[in-house]
């Protein structure tokens, strides 16, 4: 049998990517192409009093300047829903340039279309906008008197509060209590490719080339906003240069590009600038979290209270949910998770890698480290002692593996024999510390039915198609592997096509769900096609398989044969040529299990880190990291490892470097480029070890729980716990900047 699944197959698109053959959205070249540039609001709150476009219109090559005064009204109001659900997903329930109101800095207030990108950018700088500034709230500190408890999160999908038992009493009675509060700076995604859209109208039909994590979401959203039949909107996306959540929703610039193209009667390309990505595709919100742990003296948790406060837009109650892991990772009777919000003058925040739970787990796992020190229990042992065997409803995990991850991680890292005393190890100017954290992330099942199509040609080659898109995860490669195995064909005989809404539907690839749902649909289609061909053979008197039980037939290298007599059989090609079939195809679908499946759904892992801290200068250098994960079936260990390493690097970055501050006077972000918003360089990244723990899971599709988020979760906590071990100081902000880490003057 073919077994492409589970092999470290090279990416099928790697050659196109390294040779420049891969065409990204902003590289699509079309006859008559024009270029759009967005003018973003300079104020965070107020009104556009006047727009004088005369200088811009007089500049070379300018075709049009669109503002709220001449942009057509949208046909339907946007309403926020996560794109995974398979409905319109506009990112925020506000569409700009419909009136003169300004709700956040960077909000589009004008759009310039010109013959070249450079002309459009220059003319955009010549649009003179007069504003009336009104008071704004752009930080938590500015909005503390307006805090309210969120009823629903994620566009109404999830409750804002989750509680069981009597937390108040349990905490009051707990023999040991840990209480801690944390402040987290806002984060941005910084995908290498800034979002871009190219819009083309022909005969009232719209084709969009869009840099998106969900072509279907783009189609649904733009059709809704413009009042177009879905059959008149086609979205094409061949390559996306990273998403990390920033392209999971369909932001206003996509529809604006379509409106601009209709206005000038020519194709329009709208590529956001790097600076505009900080105000155009959502962000991880500035937030505070507080946690209280109650425990017995022998280290059993009795109560957890976990609160999050964050800032959202004027129009959406959006917060990344942060308590989905703290509510169920440990066996604790009394629990309270609450999300509170402040409505302010930012755009609606959005999914950012490890949405919500990554900082929720940071809070939980640094508090657990503190509890371990309070009790004198080894941090790994404390997790093992408290790990829940089932979710809070009493449902067993669809698959577990946390204990194995913790034990294997401790072994690989060399955790045993660790001297827990802080500030005990030194290497020259450096204090050395080690830390660990458990990792867990919810498995998401919100998507509708997923479909794919498989076709075999008379020469035995095959094409398998579904409307997903490649944004760096390797989905083109793993879907090819799944299709090859299901069809019984060599990998080289199968071509996987995606990136076009004319193909069968799949949902946006978010929340680590991409590999599982795409694979499930591809597997269903390929299996349906194989079954059809086998059925045709056993019914065909001219076939050597005539009369055989289809269940006794398998396929290898494109040849159907009896499983226990492999010499008896024939190839797909022979069968099809005899039947004068140039090709044959089948559509397959997969429907996710119901949300009330009687199983707990978390992906588990364990993170370990060693750091060196220069306490005089406040420098933290991560020396090594070990991550062990139980993500269910691994389709391609090479690609999975890449994603997990990337996630761990994100965690390191979140711990040490990433954060944007708001200049509340102007309501603008302090950083708007990669020189000011720090992400790690190669020199910052240490040796990273990734190991897998195998778990069987027959609840999730094909046994795949996903690797997109879990590598990132817990990594920052492991680093912060290591910094405590090195320095003896608990630092309650991220990022751990030099001014926080350096010993205060008195103690040096």
């Amino acid at each position: 049998m073919n077994t492409a699944i589970g092999r470290p197959v090279d990416r099928v698109d790697s050659q196109a990517k390294v040779t420049g053959g891969a065409r990204y959205t902003a590289e699509i070249s079309l006859p008559g192409l024009t270029y759009a540039a967005v003018v973003g609001a300079r104020i965070p709150s107020g009104r556009v009093e006047a727009v004088d476009a005369s200088r811009a219109l007089a500049a070379g090559g300018v075709l049009a300047v669109l503002t709220h005064e001449n942009l057509p009204e949208i046909a339907g109001q946007p309403h926020l829903l996560p794109s995974l659900l398979g409905a319109a997903a506009p990112g925020q329930s506000f569409f700009p340039m419909q009136d003169a109101a300004v709700h956040y800095a960077g909000q589009p207030v004008a759009l310039v279309v010109a013959e070249s990108h450079e002309q459009a950018q220059y003319a955009a700088s010549l649009v003179d906008v007069t504003y009336r500034r009104e008071p704004s709230i752009t930080s938590i500190d500015e909005g503390r008197d307006r805090v309210y408890e969120a009823q629903r999160l994620f566009g109404g999908l999830m409750p804002g509060r989750d509680e069981r038992g009597d937390v108040e009493t349990a905490l009051a009675e707990a023999p040991v209590r840990i209480e801690a509060g944390y402040r987290f700076a806002a984060n941005h995604h910084n995908a290498l490719e800034p979002p871009a859209t190219t819009a083309v109208w022909q005969d009232g039909r719209l084709t969009l080339y869009d840099s998106t994590m969900g072509i279907r979401a783009t189609q649904l959203t733009v059709a809704h906003l413009l009042g177009l039949p879905l059959s008149h909107v086609r979205v094409i996306t061949h390559f996306v240069g990273g998403g990390f959540g920033s392209k999971a929703m369909t932001w206003p610039h996509v529809t604006l590009a379509a409106m601009a193209a209709r206005h000038v009667g020519r194709p329009v390309r709208l590529a956001l600038t790097r600076a505009q990505t900080y105000t155009s595709n959502g962000h991880r919100e500035e937030q505070e979290q507080s946690i209280s742990l109650g425990a017995t003296r022998d280290g059993r948790l009795t109560a957890i209270r976990h609160h999050k406060l964050s800032i959202t837009s004027r129009f959406d109650d959006w917060a990344e949910p942060a308590t989905g892991v703290s509510s169920q990772l440990y066996d604790v009777e009394h629990y309270e998770g609450v999300h509170s919000l402040i409505q302010g003058n930012t755009m609606t925040p959005t999914f950012t890698r490890g949405p919500g739970e990554t900082l929720g787990v940071f809070t939980l796992e640094t508090a657990m480290d503190e509890l371990a020190y309070e009790l004198g229990v080894d941090p790994v042992e404390l997790r093992l002692r408290n790990h829940a065997g089932a979710d809070p409803r009493g449902n067993p995990w669809s698959s577990d593996g946390l204990a194995e991850c913790l034990r294997l991680g401790a072994e690989r890292f060399g955790w045993h024999g660790r001297d827990p005393r802080p500030r005990a190890r030194r290497d020259g100017d450096w204090l050395i510390g080690t830390g660990m954290a458990a990792a867990a992330y919810p498995v998401a099942f919100f998507m509708p039915e997923q479909r794919a199509r498989a076709r075999v040609y008379e020469d035995g080659s095959a094409v398998v198609q579904t409307g997903t898109q490649e944004f760096g995860t390797g989905v083109l490669t793993v879907a090819t592997q799944v299709a090859a195995d299901a069809l019984g064909l060599p990998l080289e005989s199968v071509r996987f096509e995606a990136g076009d809404t004319d193909l069968p539907n799949t949902s946006a690839a978010v929340g680590s769900a991409g590999a599982g749902m795409v694979s499930a649909a591809v597997h269903a289609a390929a299996t349906a096609l194989r079954d059809r061909l086998v059925a045709m053979a056993v019914a065909d008197a001219a076939s050597p398989l005539h009369g055989a039980d289809p269940a006794a037939v398998d396929v290898a290298d494109g040849r159907m044969r009896l499983r226990d007599r492999p010499g008896t059989g024939e190839s797909y090609a022979d069968l099809m040529i005899r039947h004068r079939l140039a090709d044959t195809e089948a559509v397959g679908s997969w429907t996710p299990p119901p949300l009330d499946t009687p199983h707990g759904l978390l992906t588990f892992g364990a993170q370990f880190a060693e750091v060196a801290v220069d306490p005089d200068l406040g420098l933290v250098r991560v020396r090594r990291m070990v991550g062990v994960f139980a993500p269910g079936r691994v389709l391609n260990p090479k690609l999975a490892r890449s994603q997990l390493v990337g996630g761990m690097v994100w965690g390191l970055s979140q711990a040490l470097l990433e954060g944007n501050e708001m200049d509340t006077r102007h309501g603008r972000w302090g950083a708007s480029n990669l020189g000011e918003y720090l992400v790690p360089v190669n020199a910052d990244i240490p040796e990273i070890t990734v190991e897998f723990v195998e778990v069987e899971d027959d609840v999730v599709p094909l046994g795949i729980k996903g690797v997109g988020e879990i590598g990132q979760v817990g990594a920052a906590a492991a680093v912060a716990n290591a910094v405590f071990h090195a320095t003896g100081r608990r630092l309650r902000r991220l990022p751990l900047a030099a001014e926080l880490v350096m010993d205060p003057p008195a103690s040096s």
Binding site: D616, H666, L678, A683, A738, S748
Partner: protein
């Protein structure tokens, strides 16, 4: 990007002539900062005069042990020149800790000296900024000023000078050679950088059309055991929170000569003359270094987000002097 003209010249006289007679003309060397600023709309030349063909690329020994660096020599070339790496290791290290390899291959030494601040309010093209638009105010004074200066500031500007190599050049009394409409000049590098005062838009004494042609490093035995240490959030490709160029001569346990300059904390590459004076004749110990550092930083004016730099700079000076006294980089 604004439309602009471009010209390419082959002699210094021609370059000076064209820019001097065009009020909106500017020289273009490596372009690693300037093109950014043009794209951002912060620099607004109508004509860029490309000087990369001028014969200003050489690096030559001077009589007595000094080195003359042509203004168009690239940062990476200078760093790997044996005379620099051997006689002025602090200069070579400063070069190698700046920017990235790609930028160092492109950026010229003259351009490096003229690079503009990384203050986000200066570069955003929108915020009030006395350096960009004199008289509009300073957004950094009460704004996000973690990266800003604590030495040499004024009520009109707290922008940090970003250069690494200029810090090392200041420590060793480099001399800037220029050619302009009024002839040639030699400017001691410490005088080349102006304090912001009430004219932060004026960063150096170059007149319009005046071109840097070379930088001389005079002979300095003490430089042979110099160090340049740079401290920042990430390990590469970032401007300094604080950097220090240090060199020290110790005889019988007593400091007889010292050079200290700071980056990342000054509105200009900061020669720590107060610390240097304080070091003469004291025992070569961490305590002496700390006292000298405290003396230098007593003039610091911290702001809301950069107060930590006062302490950080002192610790960096101690670290730099300790390492220099131990024998420098080698």
């Amino acid at each position: 990007m604004r439309p602009l003209g471009y010209a390419r010249v082959s002699t210094v006289a021609e370059a000076v002539e064209i820019v001097a007679t065009d009020p909106a003309g500017a020289f273009l060397a490596g372009g690693t900062t300037e093109i950014d600023l043009v794209r951002l709309g912060v620099a607004r030349p109508d004509l860029l005069v490309d000087i990369n063909d001028l014969p200003l690329h050489d690096i030559d020994d001077l009589p007595g042990g000094g080195v003359r660096i042509g203004a168009l020599a690239r940062m990476s070339e200078v760093a790997r020149t044996p005379a620099i790496a051997g006689r002025y290791p602090g200069v070579a290290q400063a070069l190698l800790l700046g920017a990235s390899q790609q930028l160092r291959n492109m950026a010229s030494m003259g351009g490096n000296l003229c690079q503009r601040t990384r203050c986000a309010y200066f570069r955003d093209g929108v915020s009030p900024c006395n350096k960009r638009e004199p008289g509009t105010g300073c957004s950094a004074l009460d704004g996000l000023n973690r990266g800003h200066a604590i030495l040499g500031t004024s009520e009109h500007c707290v922008a940090t000078h970003p250069s690494d190599v200029a810090v090392a050049l200041v420590a060793f009394d480099a001399v800037v050679h220029t050619a302009g409409p009024g002839g040639v000049r030699r400017i001691p590098i410490d005088d080349f950088y102006l304090m912001p005062g009430d004219t932060p838009d004026r960063e150096n004494p170059l007149r319009h059309g005046e071109l840097i042609t070379a930088i001389d490093l005079p002979p300095a035995g003490i430089a042979e055991r110099s160090v340049y240490l740079k401290f920042r959030d990430r390990q590469s490709y970032e401007f300094a929170l604080v950097s220090v160029c240090a060199a020290v001569r110790v005889e019988d346990g007593i400091v007889t000569e010292a050079r200290v300059a700071l980056g990342g904390v000054g509105t200009k590459p900061w020669r720590a003359r107060l610390a240097e004076q304080h070091l003469l004749g004291v025992p070569a110990t961490a305590e002496s270094y700390a006292a000298a550092a405290a003396y230098e930083l007593s003039a610091a004016v911290p702001r809301r987000h950069n107060a930590f730099k006062v302490e950080l700079a002192q610790r960096a000076i101690v670290r730099g002097l300790t390492q220099a006294a131990r024998g420098g980089m080698r």
